[in-house]
Amino acid sequence: MTFQSLILKLSEFWASRGCALQQPLDLEVGAGTMHPETFLRVLGPAHWSVAYVQPSRRPADGRFGENPNRLFKHHQFQVILKPAPDDVQQLYLDSLEACGIHPRQHDIRFEEDNWESPTLGAWGIGWQVMFDGQEISQFTYFQQAGGLELAPISAELTYGLERIAMALQRVDSVYDLEWASGVTYGDIRLREEVEQSRYAFGEIDLPAGEFGRFHRDLFERYYTLAGALLRSGLVWPALEYCLKCSHLFNILDASNSIGVTERTAYILRVRELAVGVARAYVGPSPDGATEPERA
C-alpha cells in the first residue's frame, strides 16, 4: 500500500462513517489539533465529525534528512468525533483493517498516554496505540481546550501516517517509502527536509544573534496583531496569528535562541492567546459571565 493510498483508504473509511473530509490548514502548525476543525469545533455543544490530513512541523525533530525515523515535517491523519461514539475503539480498529492491518495478525494495544498542549491550554486522557511495539496513533478523549472544560467530550484520533506506512511497507527508512507508484517519499521530501532542518537550526546567512532577533520580532508583531483581532471579535484570524506565534516559538526553541525561563514566558503568552480565542469562539455563557479558566 503506497503512502497516498493509505491516505485515500483512511479518507474513504471515515467519510463512509459520516465524517466531513476537510483539507489541511494552510499554515505552519505542529499538529492536527491546532486546525480550527479540531481546536474550535471541540468547544461548545454542537456535534461534529470531521477528518483531514495535516502536515505537521516539529522544527526540533529536524534531522537534515539523515535520520530514517525523524522528520522536520510529518503527516497526521486527524479524526474528530464529537461526541465520542460508544464503539470508537472498534471504529478505530476497523479503520486499520480498512488499511490492511489485521489485528489478529499483530499485537495491537492501547497503552496509557495522556496528551497535553500547554500552549493551547488543552489536555485529554487516552492512549498511544501500539502496533507490534511501535506507536502508530494517539487516541485522546479531549477534556479541556483553550482552558475551557468540554462537554460533550470529543474523541481525537491522530494517525502517524509515516509510521503506519513504514510498518505496512516494511521499510526501515521513511525516505524509502513508496509515496505513489514508482515515486518514493525521498523523491518528494528529502531535499525539503535537509533545507528546512538547516533553517530551523539557524544555519543561514545572517549575523550571529540576528536569527533569533528576527523571529522574536516576528513573534511580537504577530502577537500584537492577534490581540487586535481578538478585540475586534475575529476569532478565525486571531487563531491563525496565535498559531503563527506558536510556530515561531517552536523555531526559536529548536535553534536554541531562548533560555528555559524565557521559554516558559513564551508558552504562557501563546496560551493566553489560545484561551482568548476559545472564549471568543464560545461567546459569553447564557448568564452573561464568561467561564472561568481552569488551570
Binding site: 475503539q89 494495544r109 507490534d132 511495539g133 511501535q134 468540554l150 510498518a167 526501515d172 528555559v260 525561563t261
Partner: protein, 745 residues
C-alpha cells in the same frame, strides 16, 4: 439464603499502573456499600482485573437486608409538655416528623435526664431492590489518580460520573439474575452512537482472539464459575497470577531458545515483570534480536531503551553479559510470531540507532566544556540556571568532603570536580532522550573521558539513594573507592535543592511536593544515618552545619546559619524524614519518641538511629522499665527547674539522708562508667548501667520528700534530680516514653 454477587465493570483499557489499586478499591467499596446498606456479606470479596475489566465476586450475600431498629432521641421530657400536660410544640413537631402521635413516643433515661424518643423500625428490603444503590455508592467511592469525564451521570442527585476510562458494559448478577442498573449519558451527548450503559448478564472476551465466531461478541453468563470459564475460552486469563506465571514461564523458555536467560538485574531491580501482567489479557512471549554492533553501547543504555521505552526484557548469557536479544510480552497468540517479532526488531533497531548516534555525538564534547551550556538550562525561575547550581555544587561538595567527612586535599578536590560536572549530562542528547539516565550517563561519559573512579562514580550515583532501607543502593561494594566523593556530591546536590527551593517559597505542602523535596531530604537522612556502614567513618556528622553551609549562596533570600535551620522549619522537615526512616526500619513509635527527646537527635541522624537501636534492645528489662516509669516522676517534679550546673560534690554537705546520699554517690561514682561506655559506642551496655539506677531513684522517691520546707534542702534535692534529668535526656533521650511491655519478656 445467601446468594452469589458478581460484578464486572467493563472498561476501555485502564492504565496498567492503576490496576492493583483499583482492584483493591472496587472490592473494598462494594463490601463497604453492602455493609452500609445492612447487607454485610457472609463471605469475603474476591477481586480480579484485566486492562478491560474490574471484577468483584462475593460468594455469599444475604437475600434480605437486616431489619433496622433504632431509637431516635427527641426533646427532653422537661420541655415536652405544657403545664397542663398537653404536648409542647417541640414534642408535637418531633412526633409529627416521624408520623406518629406524641402518645406513641417512648421515654429514655440518659445521663442528661429523661427524653422523648421514637423507635424507628424498618423491615429489611430484598437484596435485589437495594443492590442498585450499592453499585452507585461503590462507583462513586473509587478514587482515580486522574479521573476523566465521559458524558456519563448517575441518577443519584450527584450528577456527572467521572471514571478512569469510559465504561462500556456492566455485568451485574445476584443469584444468577441481572440486577438492573443504568449509567445515563448526558443529554448533550446522547445520540444514535452514545447510549446509556445498562447492566446485563453478558461479558466480552479478548478483543481479537476467539475459538469460534467473530471475536469480541458478547458472552452470556449466570455465575462466577461460568464467567471465569467462558472468559478463558475467549482468551482472557482473569487471575493476575495466572497471567504473571504464564509470562514468567514463557520468558524462561524463550530465553533458553535464544541461548540465554532473562537479565537477572532486570528481574531484581525493575518492576517490569510486575507491570506487564496488567497490560495484557492473554499474554505470550516472542523473542527478537538486534545487530551485534549495538552491544558496544553501555549496558545501561541498552537496558533502558528496552525496558522503559518498549517494556521488553533484555536477555543475557549465563555469565551475565547482555546478548543482542530481547523478549517482548504480547497480548495475543503467537501463531504469527515472526511477523510480530520482525516489527518489534525494527522498532528496537530504530531506537538503538538513535541511541548510538547520541552516544557518538555526545562523546565529542567533554563534560567540562558543557558547563557553559548549562547557562541555558533554568534550574528554577527564582534560583537561576544549572550553571549557577554547578558552581554551588562545586563549592558545597568540596566543603562537605573536607569539613564534614575529613577528606584529604586530593579527595576534596575530586568531590568538588564531581560537583562541578554533576549536571553537565543534562545537556547531552542521550539524557534529553532517555531522561531516566541522568546521572548514570554523566558517570559513564566521565569514565570514558578517563576521570578517576571517585569522580565518575560520584556523578553516576548522585541521585541515589532512592530508598530508606539499609541496603538501598549504592552499596559499599558498588561505590568502591568513591564512597566519600559520592556522599559529598549526593548530599550537596540534595541540600542545595532543598534549601534553594525552600528559599524560593516552594516548601512541600500536604501531598504536593512537585520538586520531590521529601525524597531528597530522605536521601540526605539515609546517607547520614548509614554513614559508618557506607565507610564514611563513625564521627557524627552535624546536619545543621551542612544546611547552614548550603544556605550561604542564598544569603539574599535566606536567614543564615542556625536561623535557617529552625526559622525555615528545615529542622522539622528533616526530622519527619528521620522518623520515617526509623519507622521503616522497624522501630516502634515509643522508641522513636525516646530518641526525639535527645536535644541533638535532629542534627545527628546516625546518633539517633544508634540510640533507637539500643533502646529497642534494652527496653525489655524490668529495671529499664522501672526506671522509665520513675523518669516520668523526675520530669514532672523538676518541670520548671533549670539545671544551674552546681557541682554534684557541693551537694554532699546538704544531702545526708541515706536515700538521697545513695543517689548522689551513684551519680558521682557510677555515671562516669556510663560516659565511658557511651564514648566507646557500647550503647547497650550504657543503657544497662543506666537501668541499674532504678533502685536508687525508687528509694529516693519513697524515702525523701523533695519539696521540703527548708529551702536549701529543697533546692539541693531538686538540683540532684535536675542533673539526673539532663544526663538522661542528653545521652539517652526521653526514656519515660517507653510504655511497659504488656507481658514481661
Amino acid at each position: 439464603m445467601d446468594r452469589e454477587l458478581l460484578l464486572e465493570i467493563g472498561c476501555e483499557e485502564l492504565p496498567a499502573g492503576w490496576l492493583p489499586g483499583l482492584t483493591r478499591q472496587i472490592g473494598e467499596a462494594m463490601v463497604a456499600a453492602l455493609t452500609g446498606h445492612r447487607l454485610a456479606p457472609a463471605s469475603p470479596a474476591e477481586t480480579f482485573s484485566t486492562p478491560r475489566r474490574l471484577t468483584v465476586r462475593i460468594a455469599r450475600v444475604p437475600e434480605r437486608q437486616t431489619d433496622l431498629e433504632e431509637l431516635v432521641t427527641g426533646p427532653p421530657v422537661s420541655a415536652a409538655f405544657k403545664p397542663d400536660g398537653t404536648p409542647a410544640p417541640a414534642a408535637a413537631g418531633f412526633a409529627g416528623r416521624h408520623g406518629v402521635e406524641v402518645g406513641a413516643l417512648e421515654r429514655v433515661r440518659t445521663s442528661k435526664g429523661e427524653y422523648l424518643a421514637y423507635r424507628r423500625r424498618e423491615r429489611g428490603r430484598t437484596t435485589v431492590d437495594v443492590l442498585p444503590a450499592v453499585l452507585g455508592g461503590a462507583l462513586r467511592a473509587i478514587v482515580f489518580p486522574r479521573p476523566m469525564r465521559w458524558d456519563a451521570r448517575l441518577d443519584d442527585g450527584k450528577g456527572e460520573l467521572p471514571f478512569g476510562r469510559p465504561i462500556r458494559w456492566l455485568l451485574y448478577l445476584y443469584g444468577g439474575r441481572v440486577v438492573p442498573f443504568t449509567i445515563a449519558r448526558s443529554p448533550g451527548a446522547l445520540s444514535g452512537q452514545v447510549q446509556d450503559v445498562t447492566s446485563g448478564a453478558v461479558t466480552y472476551g479478548h478483543r481479537f482472539l476467539t475459538t469460534s465466531g467473530r471475536a469480541g461478541r458478547s458472552i452470556k453468563v449466570r455465575s462466577f464459575d461460568e464467567y471465569r470459564a467462558r472468559l478463558l475460552e475467549h482468551f482472557v486469563i482473569l487471575e493476575r497470577s495466572g497471567r504473571h506465571d504464564k509470562i514468567a514461564r514463557e520468558l524462561d523458555a524463550k530465553a533458553r531458545r535464544l541461548q540465554g536467560r532473562v537479565s537477572q538485574s532486570v528481574r531484581a531491580e525493575s518492576d517490569l515483570l510486575q507491570e506487564v501482567p496488567d497490560l495484557v489479557e492473554y499474554p505470550s512471549v516472542v523473542g527478537g534480536t538486534f545487530g551485534v554492533e549495538f552491544l558496544d553501547l553501555p549496558s545501561e543504555v541498552l537496558t533502558t531503551t528496552l525496558i522503559h521505552h518498549q517494556h521488553y526484557f533484555p536477555v543475557e548469557s549465563d555469565t551475565g553479559r547482555l546478548k543482542n536479544a530481547f523478549l517482548a510480552v504480547i497480548n495475543t497468540e503467537p501463531d504469527n510470531e515472526r511477523t510480530i517479532a520482525r516489527n518489534a526488531e525494527r522498532v528496537v533497531t530504530a531506537r538503538l540507532r538513535d541511541a548510538r548516534f547520541f552516544w557518538e555525538a555526545d562523546r565529542r564534547v567533554r563534560l567540562s566544556s558543557r558547563i557553559e551550556r548549562l547557562d541555558t538550562l533554568v534550574f528554577h525561575r527564582k534560583l537561576g540556571t544549572y550553571a549557577q547550581k554547578a558552581r554551588r555544587l562545586e563549592h558545597l561538595a568540596g566543603w562537605i568532603a573536607r569539613e564534614a567527612l575529613g577528606a584529604s586535599g586530593e579527595a576534596a578536590g575530586q568531590a568538588a570536580l564531581a560537583g562541578r560536572l554533576a549536571k553537565t549530562d543534562l545537556t547531552t542528547d542521550m539524557v534529553r532522550e532517555l531522561t531516566e539516565l541522568q546521572g548514570t550517563m554523566g558517570g559513564i561519559y566521565a569514565r570514558e573521558e578517563g576521570l578517576p573512579e571517585p569522580v565518575w562514580k560520584a556523578i553516576a550515583y548522585q541521585y541515589l539513594p532512592a530508598g530508606v532501607e539499609a541496603d538501598a543502593p549504592p552499596s559499599r561494594a558498588q561505590l568502591g573507592g568513591a564512597a566519600l566523593t559520592w556522599a559529598s556530591v549526593a548530599l550537596a546536590d540534595k541540600l542545595d535543592t532543598i534549601v534553594g527551593l525552600f528559599a524560593a517559597g516552594e516548601k512541600p505542602t500536604g501531598s504536593r511536593d512537585p520538586y520531590g523535596l521529601r525524597r531528597a531530604a530522605q536521601g540526605v537522612v539515609k546517607v547520614l544515618a548509614d554513614a559508618s556502614a557506607l565507610g564514611l567513618g563513625n564521627d557524627p556528622i552535624d546536619l545543621s552545619r551542612l544546611v547552614a553551609e548550603a544556605c550561604a549562596p542564598f544569603a539574599d533570600r535566606l536567614p543564615g546559619g542556625t536561623e535557617a535551620w529552625t526559622g525555615l522549619q528545615l529542622e522539622e522537615f528533616f526530622w519527619e524524614r528521620q522518623v520515617h526512616l526509623l519507622e521503616r526500619r522497624g522501630y516502634r513509635h515509643d522508641e522513636i519518641r525516646v530518641v526525639a527527646g535527645l536535644p541533638w537527635a535532629r542534627r545527628h541522624p546516625l546518633g539517633a538511629l544508634l540510640r533507637a537501636d539500643a533502646t529497642a534492645k534494652a527496653r525489655h528489662s524490668q529495671e529499664f522499665q522501672d526506671l522509665a516509669a520513675l523518669f516520668k516522676r523526675v520530669k514532672n517534679i523538676t518541670k520548671d527547674v533549670e539545671d544551674r550546673g552546681v557541682p554534684l560534690a557541693a551537694l554532699a554537705s546538704v544531702l545526708k539522708e541515706p536515700a538521697e546520699a545513695g543517689l548522689l554517690t551513684g551519680m558521682i561514682d557510677r555515671w562516669p562508667e556510663i560516659d565511658r561506655a557511651l564514648a566507646a559506642g557500647r550503647l547497650v551496655e550504657a543503657m544497662q548501667r543506666l537501668a541499674q539506677f532504678h533502685g536508687a531513684v525508687d528509694r529516693f522517691f519513697t524515702d525523701v520528700l523533695v519539696m521540703a520546707e527548708d529551702r536549701t534542702l529543697r533546692e539541693a534535692r531538686l538540683a540532684l534530680l535536675t542533673r539526673l534529668r539532663r544526663a538522661i535526656l542528653e545521652n539517652f533521650g526521653d526514656i519515660s516514653e517507653i510504655a511497659a511491655d504488656a507481658r514481661p519478656v
